[in-house]
Symmetry: C2
Subunit: 207 residues, 2 copies
DNA sequence: ACTTATTTTAAACACTTGTTTAATTATTGA
DNA sequence: TCAATAATTAAACAAGTGTTTAAAATAAGT
């Protein structure tokens, strides 16, 4: 257990890629091992089982998800600017890793046994002071009085779903890969304006 | 091949239930057969293979999805009323079948080989005249000029995602089943007001 | 009744699955 | 250098997979 992370990290990278695109039960340990160029046994030498490896990947993905929010929330900005920034960052990130949202949700639904603990994330969000900032804005009448969980839901719905619904949308409307990309670019602006208009109704004059 | 649909239909019902909760590769043909009380061979006697059965279920689910929209679009109502109605109907339906959205998206992503044809649905939507109604409203300045695909995305994002993200949201915010239900009830109204305010900005005085 | 067709089953097949065991190769530490 | 530890592999294991075959039970047709 020296710092020869090379192989261990390579396995995690490959596992992430395979798990994201195919899901837990949609792939095999041999498939992951092969894509690293190693034996199946070695995979179980580093991580104890397929399930344990999956949990690791899923947990890392969830951490990344929260990290992105925390980073923005922690900055010194108005809520409107934070809104814009977080939507832009989320779209940018998700365009790079389109399988991410579906992986997380399917992953959380898959493991009925292990019931991953997500409680730690709430604390991290609290430390950013975002909740207080919203409370203040709401008290001052600058922000619509909406439960913070609903706010979270609004953001995630409008950022994550457009990415994960690519096959459905482009299938129904018969549009090409390129057209879908343009669709997302337009949608990003729509979402920004809609959410800002809704959450901060006072300052709704858009030049 | 008489009209003794009993067994065939029972298999489809069971398959739908199992596929929805566990996904294609997350379940076995024996599991489905067992839940019907029949042999595995009989399942392949009616449907040729696991994959063929899955396609059937997925296609039926997609048809249901479009059917719901078509039914509302076809009615004689203002766009605002259609908006309200479709959101209410969608939330009502999805609360009954919470696995539905995740199943569809995961299902569409699973089968890279068969590439299900979704083109027929566009025609069905066109026959409702909803696109013309929107065009007219947009020309009259009553509706915001937004591409119809973006409109679709807005609706689906804000209806489907809140349901499919149950585990993630209630995990992060540490809320109970009951609290999550109340969250959804509140969210339904939020989504209605937000979308109407955004799409029909003129009539945004809410009593 | 009895022949034919349909529905259902038990058993087997060939293959894949996650995991383990024991042996081999590389790396380290003194 | 050489023993001890770590990394890696080939092979096997037992269980589970989708699918098929051939036989049995049931229903239908005449």
């Amino acid at each position: 257990m020296k710092n020869d992370l090379s192989t261990e990290e390579k396995i995690k990278d490959a596992a992430r890629k395979v798990f994201m695109t195919k899901g837990f039960s949609g792939c095999t340990t041999r498939e992951i091992a092969k894509s690293v160029g190693i034996n199946v046994a070695l995979l179980n030498y580093y991580f104890r089982s397929k399930g344990k490896l999956f949990e690791l990947i899923l947990e890392a993905a969830l951490t990344d998800l929260i990290d992105g929010m925390v980073e923005v929330f922690h900055q010194d900005m108005t809520l409107e600017d934070k809104t814009r920034l977080i939507i832009d960052k989320e779209f940018e990130f998700l365009k790079k890793y389109p399988e991410f949202p579906l992986f997380i949700h399917a992953g959380l639904n898959q493991e009925s046994d292990t019931e991953m603990d997500l409680s730690s994330f709430l604390g991290r969000l609290h430390t950013t002071g975002i909740f207080e900032q919203c409370e203040k804005a709401q008290a001052a009448g600058k922000m619509r009085k909406v439960n913070m969980i609903n706010v979270t839901l609004l953001f995630m719905s409008n950022c994550h779903f457009p990415i994960m619904s690519k096959k459905l949308i482009s299938g129904i409307y018969q549009i090409s890969e390129e057209e879908h990309e343009n669709l997302l670019i337009a949608h990003q602006e729509i979402v920004k304006e809609m959410l800002i208009n809704y959450l901060f109704p006072n300052t709704n004059q858009h030049a």
